[in-house]
């Protein structure tokens, strides 16, 4: 039911972990639904994402989309990162089963929350 790409990211997820001195942290989902995704960003003075890590509780799709979004966003400017949608993450994985498109495809939302967290912190 999952594409090879999904299984690759599920089996060998990229950028798993936490960033102790993260510039921004974003989290979406809840344990009741069976999905929580948390993204940690490190952003430099030029608004470039220099490092990113994730931690996810959830199904195969939740883990694969989290892994994929970290790969897509590393080295990108914040403005570019904000353009990445959940749909784009799913497409980069070669698609997700229809039932997973909305319940487990929230990694870009987590990313956007992390960026917002960074901007909010910077503004203070």
């Amino acid at each position: 039911m999952y594409t090879e790409k999904v299984m690759d990211h599920f089996t060998n997820p990229r950028n798993v972990g936490e960033l102790k001195d993260a510039s921004g942290i974003g989290e979406v989902g809840n344990a009741k639904c069976g999905d929580i995704m948390r993204i940690y960003l490190k952003v430099d003075d030029n608004d470039v994402i220099t490092d990113v890590k994730f931690k996810t509780f959830g199904c195969g799709a939740a883990i694969a989309t989290s892994s994929m979004v970290t790969e897509m966003v590393k080295g990108k400017k914040l403005a570019e990162a904000l353009e990445i949608s959940n749909q784009a993450v799913a497409e980069a994985l070669g698609g997700l089963p229809p039932a997973k498109m909305h319940c487990s495809n929230l990694a870009a939302d987590a990313l956007h929350h992390a960026i917002k967290d960074y901007i909010d912190k910077k503004g203070k």
Binding site: G29, C59, G60, C103
Partner: protein, 402 residues
């Protein structure tokens, strides 16, 4: 890579002897059991013999066995059939919150047709309390339907006591015994059972065949009309190969019962004790003692069931889970929730169901790979260990499907 099948509550491999018996009635002895000629008579004879064997497995007599397409049909025929045939006596049905959907959705259907249904709660082990059954009975109660053994957590219900209570009150008692038949000794007389549904593919017969036991004298209305098959209760040309297969599987199950119960029970106990000892933050779901010999069900905290199943599958092990992702809905298993588990804990459930083909080596291999998988998923989980306190933004507060 070796493949290990630990999902026998989903389905079982057809026994080779069973398959051979069924095949003969497709290619050689293909007659219609209703035909007068020799072809028909040999098919009829085989159907009659199979009926005897199925009856013998549960302590019934042959004329109390009605062949169906499987467990779901048996439950439908028992519940709707009793309800429609006895509605002048009353319109109240008692069941439990942990029944299979074949029972629950049938009861919900009847609620739309003038019946009232009481869904009894269960205790933390997934067991119905006799007191609750007693208290739910009214002068309108016509049927009590409680499963013999739960398909997810394996808890064996106090069927005999419920049956006695029903008998005393003149209420019919049906039990969905799909998981129990062939895996657990059953005697419908001793257990005070009026109706019992079974499914062939849960005990090494093919899919698409099952039977309903109806004690002599119980009034049931037919749901499917046509020819006079199954004594006017279930119209449709007999599935002779399936019936022959079911008979053979019942015969084998009866012969092997004691050995199988002991063998599976030993493997299961080893899995339960090792998993509980080796892995932290784990909960055994279901009753510690009163459970199906081949069933072990755990919740591993901080991880989600589908990713656990995928990891096991990558190691060649087939199991199942009550997580939402695997239940085909957005909620985790209704059984685990009825037992008082939170959604989070229910999402992390793993069901192992053993069969007679499983070996001690397979259990060893499972016990070897499981801890690594759990560790890996927990290392990835934001719920496990120290974690930053961030505001949770939840775009799907109700977990609804878009």
């Amino acid at each position: 890579m070796k493949r290990i099948y630990f999902d026998h509550s989903a389905t079982t491999p057809v026994d080779k002897e069973v398959a051979a018996a069924a095949l003969e009635y497709m290619t050689e002895k293909f007659g219609n059991a209703s035909s007068i000629h020799g072809f028909g008579r040999e098919a009829r004879k085989a159907v009659d013999e199979a009926r005897e064997k199925v009856a013998a497995l549960i302590g019934a007599t042959a004329n109390e066995i009605f062949f169906t397409s499987g467990g779901t049909e048996g439950d439908n025929l028992a519940i709707k059939g009793v309800a429609f045939a006895n509605r002048k006596k009353g319109n109240h049905i008692i069941t439990s919150a942990i029944e299979h959907h074949a029972v629950l959705h049938t009861c919900e259907y009847l609620e739309k047709h003038g019946f009232t249904v009481t869904y009894l709660p269960v205790d933390e082990y997934g067991m119905v309390r006799i007191e609750d059954v007693k208290n739910a009975i009214t002068d309108k109660t016509i049927l009590i339907t409680i499963m013999m053994a739960n398909n997810e957590v394996g808890t064996i219900q106090p069927v005999k006591e419920i049956g006695r209570l029903a008998r005393e009150k003149g209420i019919y008692f049906h039990t969905d015994a799909v998981q129990a038949v062939g895996n657990y000794p059953i005697d419908v007389q001793e257990m005070n059972i009026d109706l019992l549904a079974m499914s062939g593919h849960k005990f090494h017969a093919p899919k698409g065949i099952g039977a309903l036991y109806i004690r002599r004298g119980v009034r049931v209305e037919a749901l499917q009309h046509g020819g006079g098959h199954e004594r006017n209760l279930r119209a449709g040309t007999e599935n002779v190969p399936g019936i022959v297969g079911l008979g053979k599987a019942a015969e084998i199950a009866k012969q092997e019962m004691a050995k199988k119960v002991t063998y599976l029970g030993k493997l299961r106990d080893r899995i339960i004790s090792e998993v509980m000892a080796k892995i932290p933050h784990v909960k055994l779901n279901g009753h510690p003692v009163e459970r199906l010999p081949g069933n072990a069900n755990f919740s591993f905290l901080f991880i989600e069931g589908e990713s656990l199943l995928l990891n096991l599958d990558l190691k060649g092990i087939a199991a199942s889970s009550g997580s939402a992702c695997t239940s085909g809905s957005l909620d985790p298993s209704h059984v685990l929730l009825a037992m008082g588990l939170t959604h989070e804990v229910a999402h992390g459930s793993l069901r192992i169901t053993l069969g007679r083909g499983n070996t001690a080596e397979e259990v060893d291999y499972f016990l070897e790979v499981l801890p690594e998988i759990i560790d890996r998923l927990r290392a990835m989980s934001p719920l496990f260990g120290e974690s930053a306190n961030t505001v949770v933004n939840n775009p799907c507060s109700e977990c609804h499907m878009h």
